[in-house]
């Protein structure tokens, strides 16, 4: 008995030490500036969102959000260190201060925004959960999936939506749950599962980039049902509202730039624009940068180095990428989508 209590005590100690480290980080923004680098938690590899190439250079929609934040803080989008996190590690990494922010296809939910001690700062991609199956099964609808074996990543909203959807439709399923994205996809492609479920954007990404030969993308269909709302966005932890504001507005600045037609190509000419709104956005009329606590040229830096939202989307996910995902819900509000930035004024 004595061994038990003393061991348990030691164990409890070990855990608290890990968490106590965060206390001394102080203001997150000060720490980031002192470090000269933003530490951004990304995924372990999702084409179009965050993926490292053979030289270790990260690209993707989520990566561009990190770069925009670095551009706003330092005036240099390259001052980012990327930390790959799995779906399960990501929240602990952010809570403990291992990363400054998460930008890795993380769904905004009430619990995560409150009990986990986080703030979601916006929606970088409006997604929804879908199902992918092998064409040979002849399945046309998610309603026909009763009894199926389904591959799913643990610790995701996907896992919960899946259980909810099958309960609501009085169907049974067997989950196969593996943490590493590569392993769960391998399990699906070797036929351990009938179905692979995750955010629809990732399904397109996997189908375009990860199907092992001799199978091809044409062997798989993505079912029409989208069973959930998955607003994906950057996340910061409670405790430093100024840093949270910068992350929030870095993303909004990209959306706002697209709305006002400011692109990486024309931003220099736009500086000469007479439009008072554009002058305010680009810091020609000062004030916005000061209010946010960053350089007045922050939007110029973001747009010049990262591009506006539309450019980033095209390059990573849309027509300019192998994924060829439609803008859909992620079109600007002026063009029938949901991307809408509060005014920069």
């Amino acid at each position: 008995m004595r061994t038990i209590t003393s061991l348990a005590g030691a164990a409890a100690l070990a855990v608290t030490i890990g968490a106590a480290g965060a206390a001394h980080a102080g203001k997150d923004l000060d720490a980031i500036k002192a470090r000269g680098q933003l530490i951004c938690g990304v995924s372990t590899g999702t084409a179009g969102f965050s993926l490292a190439d053979s030289k270790g250079v990260w690209t993707g929609m989520d990566v561009d959000v990190c770069r925009a934040v670095a551009a706003a803080i330092f005036g240099d989008a390259s001052k980012v260190k990327y930390v790959p996190t799995t779906a399960q590690q990501r929240f602990t990494a952010l809570q403990s201060g291992e990363v400054d922010m998460l930008s890795r296809t993380t769904t905004w939910t009430l619990t995560r925004d409150t009990a986990l001690g986080f703030d979601f700062t916006g929606v970088s991609y409006y997604d929804g959960q879908g199902f992918m199956v092998n064409k040979k099964l002849g399945v046309k609808s998610a309603k026909e999936l009763n009894g199926a074996t389904i591959c799913v990543s643990p610790g995701t909203t996907t896992e919960l939506n899946l259980a909810d959807y099958f309960r609501a439709n009085k169907m049974q399923f067997k989950p196969v749950v593996i943490e590493k994205a590569d392993e769960i996809r391998a399990a699906f492609f070797t036929g351990r599962c009938d179905v692979y479920t995750t955010d629809a954007s990732s399904l397109y990404s996997v189908r375009a980039a990860n199907v092992p030969a001799p199978l091809t993308a044409a062997d798989f269909v993505i079912l029409p049902e989208i069973i959930s709302k998955e607003p994906l966005g950057p996340v910061v932890r409670h405790g430093d509202n100024q840093f949270g504001d910068i992350v929030r507005w870095a993303l909004y600045a990209m959306v706002e730039a697209e709305e006002y037609g400011i692109t990486s190509a024309n931003v220099e000419q736009m500086l000469k624009s007479e439009d008072p709104t554009i002058k305010r956005i680009l810091g020609v009329t000062p004030g916005m940068g000061k209010a946010l606590g960053v350089d007045e040229k922050w939007v110029v830096n973001i747009v010049k180095q990262v591009g506006n939202y539309g450019e980033a989307f095209d390059r990573n996910l849309g027509a300019g990428s192998p994924l060829k995902i439609e803008r859909g819900l992620n079109q600007l509000w002026t063009k029938g989508g949901l991307q809408y930035s509060p005014p920069i004024r």
Binding site: T3, I4, L7, A8, G9, A11, A12, L13, V15, T16, I17, A19, A20, A22, A23, A87, Q88, F91, T92, Q95, T111, R112, T114, A115, L116, G117, L137, L145, N146, G147, A148, T149, P154, G155, T156, E159, L160, L162, A163, D164, F166, R167, F173, K174, P175, V176, V177, I178, E179, K180, E183, I184, A187, T190, G191, R192, D194, R237, H238, G239
Partner: protein
């Protein structure tokens, strides 16, 4: 002061700071105070941080609905069950693979360990190669290998390998076989089984006592096995011989009905067993080699066969050397079963990880997982220590 005392040497009056007893006490109080203070600082600091970051604390979450499905459960579980139940499912899954793994590992490891000492050159070499190959590759790689083997080598459920007149099916979804439909008689059959074991044990004791007294032998092992089989069978007959079976059938995507052994469980069990058996083999071999050569020669001299010598003379003595390190091996199996996470077997770690992710309460959950592993491991240790005392040399 020092000069005064040298001349007379009375009962030396030592200053309190030079008194070893007092000094001892002071140091111990200081150390306890420091450790306690550090612990208090860390705990209160953590609580304050959690409070400041508005991260929920406490164990209330255990009663909330878990909301996620688990693929392989030994007890009734659905997404509507609580987190506490999800964690319990994980604990049972861990125990299942650990207990079966320990039994199989012990049997296989002992056979291979004895095999390495065989005078048969081929057998000894095969056993040696087995040990060298299995213990020199990390367990995680074995698990990946076996998981790939079971999930890639077998066909999909619609092309399943059919055996025994379409009653047993082998596919990449697992091994499906028929089981009897649950019946109240089953409980009594279980009781009969236990009764059979007790009977066999009593019979064995009696046979040994009689052999010691009269020298007459009795085939107590065969008779005991007979008891263990016959008693439950009689109970089944008396209970009306319920023979309704649940047969696996291909419905839609997969087989329904019957019982299934899933690929993740198979891969984990096979990997753990084959890997750890290599260590057990070495322990068994070292235990036997630790005995003086005279033991086997004496056994041969009184006319015991090699098998009898091993069973009656060598192994009982070797056990004294074998049992203490075996405790570590059993503990390793239990703890290594947490590598299940890599191949998707839903063990305790998997349940806890998902729970941490949904609730964000890492500290509480890690405390639970450590308490669970500690309880299991200390139970194994306690049992093995008790067993070790039983077989220890008894001085008479």
């Amino acid at each position: 002061m020092a000069v005064d005392t040298i001349g007379s040497l009375p009962q030396t009056r030592v200053a309190p700071w030079n008194n070893p007893v007092i000094r001892g006490w002071v140091f111990q109080i200081v150390v306890v105070g420091l450790v306690g203070g550090l612990a208090w600082y860390l705990v209160s600091n953590t609580m304050a941080n959690l409070e400041k970051a508005k991260i929920a604390t406490g164990f209330d979450f255990l009663g909330r609905e878990a909301g996620f499905e688990i693929g392989d459960t030994m007890i009734e579980y659905s997404p509507a069950s609580t987190y506490a139940r999800a964690i319990w499912v994980g604990i049972l899954n861990t125990l299942r693979v650990a207990v079966i793994g320990i039994i199989l590992t012990t049997i296989l490891g002992t056979l291979i360990g004895i095999g390495r000492l065989s005078p048969n050159w081929l057998l000894a070499k095969i056993c040696e190669w087995y040990v060298e190959i299995f213990r020199n590759v990390p367990l995680l790689l074995w698990l990946f290998l076996f998981y790939k083997l079971v999930s890639e080598a077998f066909p999909g459920p619609r092309q399943a390998i059919r055996m025994l007149g379409d009653s047993v099916f082998l596919s990449n979804r697992g091994l499906y076989f028929p089981i009897p439909v649950a019946d109240p008689v089953h409980k009594w059959i279980g009781a009969g089984f236990l009764l059979g074991i007790v009977g066999a044990w009593a019979l064995h004791r009696w046979a040994k006592a009689r052999q010691a007294a009269t020298g007459q032998q009795f085939p107590s092992i065969l008779a005991g096995l007979g008891l263990i089989i016959v008693v439950p069978f009689l109970v089944w007959l008396i209970g009306g011989a319920p023979a309704k079976m649940s047969w696996p059938e291909l419905k839609g995507f997969n087989f329904q009905g019957g019982l299934v052994i899933q690929p993740e469980f198979t891969a984990l069990l096979v990997g753990l067993t084959l890997y750890t058996a290599a260590f057990v083999a070495e322990i068994v071999r070292s235990g036997i080699l630790a005995l003086h050569k005279g033991q086997s020669e004496a056994a041969a001299a009184i006319g015991l066969s090699r098998g009898q010598a091993m069973r009656l003379v060598l192994l009982p003595q070797a056990l004294r050397v074998i049992v203490p390190p075996m405790t570590s091996v059993f503990l390793n199996i239990t703890k290594n079963s947490s590598l299940a996470i890599a191949i998707g077997y839903p063990d305790l770690v998997a349940s806890i990880n998902v729970t941490i992710n949904q609730t964000g309460q890492a500290i509480e959950n890690i405390l639970i997982i450590m308490a669970a592993y500690l309880t299991v491991s200390l139970s194994i240790s306690a049992f093995m220590n008790w067993y070790n005392k039983q077989i220890a040399m008894k001085e008479r």
